[in-house]
Symmetry: C2
């Protein structure tokens, strides 16, 4: 099978994760083995950097920087939330991408991101094919939300899952110690439409005493009355209640229970920005259940917690990066790498597969009913079986003499611009 | 020197920390070596358990549980926020404490807590002396806030410092990756009156690029105008701003900038409960500086983060527990163990000393001016020299096959009650 000879470009998009850089390291390490790939470039800040022709040469990074990406959180290439619409509406953007790709002889495009990124990669490849430019686009799954379809799970999820479960375990011990006054705690985790992260905190509960005691996911309709009754029942039994909530909680009409207002009420993708659901629940607990309540809002620290990240997750993220390059070398195009859990094997084993970019772009995977208990306030054993293996092992990070982690920052040797200046819309 | 022969009682009070259980382990391990100490008891939930005669026998715990306390966060004995006033106002409470101590032949009282606890220990010892009961009361310093006087630093602080610095480092990488849309992040940490925890995040900043870029402490007067100007200046230079704030931020008149209302607006000590200063600053950044801003409120997870705790801190906490017992065996009474940093030695070395309980009870140690920069928005090199050594080393915890930490929960073999039932006021 003949594949084009030329440069490859890697880009990262959307919310960072603890292991998205491991995927980049996987791409770079694999790409170096293949003579068809002549140069390894990166876009600064995702597709934004392609449009602005802000591209740097990963081949010029010291080897220690690439190795260090395996244990550096967030998006070392820079990320973005730049939304490109369909080929009709945003044709100029896609044409600009191809103009930049051509100028730098880029024939391989590896894009690590969620479904919006898969959509961008797909449409870029479509326009390339239509206009006769040889471009191999391969997507690399990335999202802490774990909501991509066609893959058993997403790189990034295992690490956030391990961390939020640990936080629930530890903060739960605080509530257990101080229950005579500080009776309840609400822990808010990310997850706009899918409750995978909230569900993962349930892995911390090895027995009834352990936190969390109640978990509310966007997939289960939230009722204040039911919630107050749940909290009272747990407190009556254990003297305390540790509650986890996903940020995207919805009421019976499907509306978010908290919605922000003002200039930044929507992100640049038009997604509604959610306010503090934890603070809202804290107030409900205090006013309607009558218990003092504290709250924790982990925010972005949860998705970058490399200091206690899942080794399984990090190695799978790197595996996806390598698989993307190998697939391209095998003549595959227009696909996203998926994670396939081996069935019927003893223990957990995971390999990679492929899914059409276009299909991934339009899919969304919510937490299925079988993973949520009948009361809609906790996980099931089936969820433990699913998520348990994903948080195993711990990434060994480098700790400096100062007692803190060592994370790399790339040198970013920028390429000289070859096209006319471009203004973002 | 003759010391009484009898049982000892250990209790924990106030907010839990990652290492307060290590102090208990230190007490137990040392107490077992001394024949004058016949039994090792613990009060359930601090002084509350003494008043209610809820006491259990630590001597009956399996050895693995005591060893496990060295790496188990929060307060394994249970804690409380039960305030006892002066000997005149609350004499009945102190008499009750002595009644219970006498009933169980308790002649040693080791109390791990902050200044309120030192006050309770001091007044109990005073009444004992006045009434001719032989009671040796020794305080063990404990507070993440690091605000106890007469000690170089407090067990509990090093671990929270290490964790919040790591969170700032990691979440800072998120802001760095997504600055083109999510330009600013506010991280709120604990610290009602003293900014030691907020200051510690500055340890994450090894160069100008690193988060945090701005740190606001309760010790520096907060001005919204200055804050907005600071954020704009950092954004102009770096394209982003990562901001840390201590919960107890005060304005020029000394008032908290955020004050909660309602039934739980004060805790049981009468301390004002503070609302979300991070959310307030986020709104200021968005409305007045014009940048999208995210926020993180770590809440109780920061003080229990044993999964990334300071080995220095944990070993010093245990050392304080051992020192408390040794001091008692040496005939010392009415003192709190302090940490003494050795001056003039190469590197960091720390031993223990003693301070009067009564003096500690009335003291408070704020972050001194020399540790805060002139602009009141960052730390100085002098602070790095002070706090740096406290976060070194990492506690080695046990990780179960499920990928999560193993923390012990005590069996708590309760003693039979010997006194008439008592009702808390």
């Amino acid at each position: 099978m003949s594949v084009p000879k030329g440069n490859c470009l890697i880009a990262q998009s959307g919310g960072p994760t603890a292991v998205i850089n491991a995927s980049v390291a996987g791409v770079v390490e694999e790409a170096k083995k293949h003579p068809a790939i002549t140069g390894i470039y990166a876009a600064l800040n995702g597709i934004r950097g392609v449009l602005l022709e802000e591209i740097f040469d990963l081949g010029k990074e010291p080897k220690s920087n690439i190795t260090g990406l395996h244990r550096t959180p967030a998006a070392a290439l820079g990320s973005c939330r730049y939304k490109i619409k369909d080929l009709k509406t945003s044709r100029a953007d896609y044409e600009r991408i191809l103009e930049v790709f051509k100028a730098h002889n880029i024939h391989y495009f590896f894009y690590a991101g969620g479904n919006d990124s898969m959509d961008t990669a797909d449409k870029t490849a479509t326009l390339a094919a239509d206009t006769g430019y040889e471009l191999v686009a391969i997507g690399i799954p990335k999202t802490i939300d774990n909501d991509l379809a066609y893959t058993d799970h997403c790189p990034g999820y295992g690490s956030v899952a391990k961390y939020v479960a640990t936080v629930a375990m530890e903060a739960g011990r605080d509530t257990e110690a101080l229950y005579t006054t500080d009776t309840c705690t609400v822990l808010e985790v990310m997850g706009r439409n899918a409750g995978w992260i909230a569900a993962a905190t349930g892995l911390a509960s090895r027995c009834e005493e352990d936190a969390p005691h109640l978990i509310y996911l966007p997939e289960a309709v939230f009722s204040i009355e039911k919630f107050v009754a749940d909290v009272k029942a747990v407190q009556a039994k254990l003297g305390r209640a540790f509650i986890v909530v996903g940020e995207g909680l919805k009421d019976k009409d499907g509306n978010y229970v908290t919605t922000q207002t003002g200039e930044f009420s929507k992100d640049s993708f038009g997604h509604v920005q959610l306010g503090g659901v934890a603070e809202m629940l804290k107030n409900i607990v205090e006013q309607q259940a009558g218990f003092k309540c504290r709250y924790i809002k982990l925010g972005t620290c949860q998705r970058n917690a490399m200091h206690f990240a899942s080794a399984t997750d990090a190695s799978e993220a790197a595996m996806c990066g390598r698989a993307a390059v190998r697939a391209a070398m095998d003549g595959v195009a227009g696909k996203m790498i998926t994670l396939l859990r081996q069935k019927g094997t003893k223990g957990y084993k995971c390999t990679t597969g492929l899914a059409d970019l276009a299909e991934v772009a339009n899919g969304e995977k919510k937490v299925p009913a079988e993973y949520i208990n009948k009361d809609g306030n906790f996980i099931t054993e089936a969820f433990r079986q699913y998520a348990g293996p994903l948080i195993r092992g711990q990434v060994e990070i480098e700790i400096a003499d100062d007692g803190l982690p060592v994370y790399v920052r790339l040198e970013k040797h920028m390429l000289k611009k070859k096209t006319a200046a471009y203004k973002l819309k």
